[in-house]
Symmetry: C2
Subunit: 340 residues, 2 copies
Amino acid sequence: MNRTASIKDVATHASVAVGTVSNVLNYPDRVSERTRERVLRAIDELGFVRNDAARQLRVGHSRTIGLIVLDVGNPFFTSVVRSAEDAAALQGSAVLLGDSGHDAGREANYIDLFQEQRVQGLLISPVGDVTDRLDLLRERGVPTVLVDRLADESKFSSVAVDDDAGGYLAARHLLDTGRRRLAFVGGPTSIRQVADRLEGARRAVKEEPDATLEVLDSEGQTVLAGRSVGDMLVQRGRAELPDGIFCANDLLALGVMQSLTMTHTFRIPEDVALIGYDDIDFAVSAVVPLSSIRQPTELLGRTAIELLSEEVESQNPVHRAVVFTPELVVRQSTAAPAAG
Amino acid sequence: MNRTASIKDVATHASVAVGTVSNVLNYPDRVSERTRERVLRAIDELGFVRNDAARQLRVGHSRTIGLIVLDVGNPFFTSVVRSAEDAAALQGSAVLLGDSGHDAGREANYIDLFQEQRVQGLLISPVGDVTDRLDLLRERGVPTVLVDRLADESKFSSVAVDDDAGGYLAARHLLDTGRRRLAFVGGPTSIRQVADRLEGARRAVKEEPDATLEVLDSEGQTVLAGRSVGDMLVQRGRAELPDGIFCANDLLALGVMQSLTMTHTFRIPEDVALIGYDDIDFAVSAVVPLSSIRQPTELLGRTAIELLSEEVESQNPVHRAVVFTPELVVRQSTAAPAAG
DNA sequence: GCGTTTTTTTGAATCGTTTCATTGTTACGA
DNA sequence: TCGTAACAATGAAACGATTCAAAAAAACGC
């Protein structure tokens, strides 16, 4: 009574062979209407639930896809996870989610776990440099797609967003609304994303001979880090204040905004325009709604799944690196100052 | 060459029996040092990775625990997930995470999927009323623990946080710092959490004969909803403004704060004190750091795993409903007004 | 009614582990 | 040297699904 019913129990109960039950489950139209109904009734009566381990053992692979992200709490990844799950569901797969929390050890554990589970493939936003480990996976025939990181196309497929283009968009927007003394606020430029966004901003500024770009280093990417940069700016005389600030991420921008608005000495956007990056939910509901650069996260997740499917299907894998273009979202924080 | 090595291959390669390889994997000290090393070397050379499906088929259950949450993007659940994962890892289990997104259909899919995977048990923060489905699970012998929802103790174990106590704490703190004209801001009271928090606040207010509590309904639980409640308050004359506001969640509180500070007519905490609920990351970095009620989310996740283990181990399950007490976090937004 | 084709059903073999009764080996005291 | 106990290693059986060649049943044409 305690043991869950097996396919054999169902077969007995419906007076058919086990093969027939399996066919009802997997190829319903190979089975005549009458017996199909009989089998379905038996399944229902016994409360049969297919044992996926047995199925998997026989067919050699699972119906799941592993997904390892750096931080589920980060809205960027949350959105990627959602869209990947949806895309996977459409093709009949489920997603096993792992949160490495930027920890290489946890990441390694998940990779091992997913291998033991014989996932169909792996989507990963890797912690630092894991090419060795990923090479191993490749040798063992686990198709892998890198997420939010460009990959050597001879080895892996990847999906990412063009941060250089995003940086350009943001700076170009500030310039287009008449600002000329720009500042970039961003954490350590050793982070690829930060460096690329800065590079894009530089490119835009070079297009206007009379424009300048100042780089303000921040301690990390948090609201508090933004606040201290903002405090520093407030100290300066009004004449030395930039008239357009581009922050490497929305949290920084919100921090800067808090500093500037708290003192009531500077107005946003009249005295200084402010734009962030990521377009997090808080951006729209900030004290002054924040302009930002939105990344097509849904597309990222969906495309990652698609690339993985391609690799799974084709024996002879040709890798692709897909790069998406981010999008400018204009809100009040960069509204053009009154003419004159 | 393409196929991954099996335990049999390892056995051949190391010139031992398959049982010995299995023992090396599962009971290393049943095997002599010499052969153990030999087997380990073979495993390494062949790149053997245990096939968990086969293992599971034999032993009858997996090493994974299913966890279905309402929204991974919600910091509350993110934290629960993390701690559950850590606790599970300690006892050698892994967590399969499902995000129902408040959608009963997705929830049902995950329940089915997890059943097919023969998870050891299920932690679930259910969408609406799923007692029927959960009853089914119970009959099929899948131990289940409800998260953030009290359960009929005759049927399930559960972990939750005492929202009534949290509401009391918040209101009591406002009263203790001298406020008497309190307001509660909260979404539809059909949400259990909101209703309980309000109830707790009422209890505290009744303790002070000269204190009053006004209930301000909000449209949902977002920053924007908080803003519109705040705007409404600003319209009122100063005399009619409450001197202490308790919001059912931090997002609401941040919205109210934005309204009040933007107009520069009221100061927080001098004119009005403000306290939220959940202690999200943004609370500490708000314009005026926000007091809040912290829920022991790490403890929730860990305890859920422990309760589940209890059910798994004992044949004769005795269910427990564990309720945690939330904690007051005092910050500047409720600092006592200057004496006099 | 009979031979032929098509459709349905059958059930043994298989996947890769773990388990455990059995056999083989070693160590040790008398 | 022998008997016995402790320890190691063995390998067949089992888990529950899918697969597929073969058998059985049904449908068809004449």
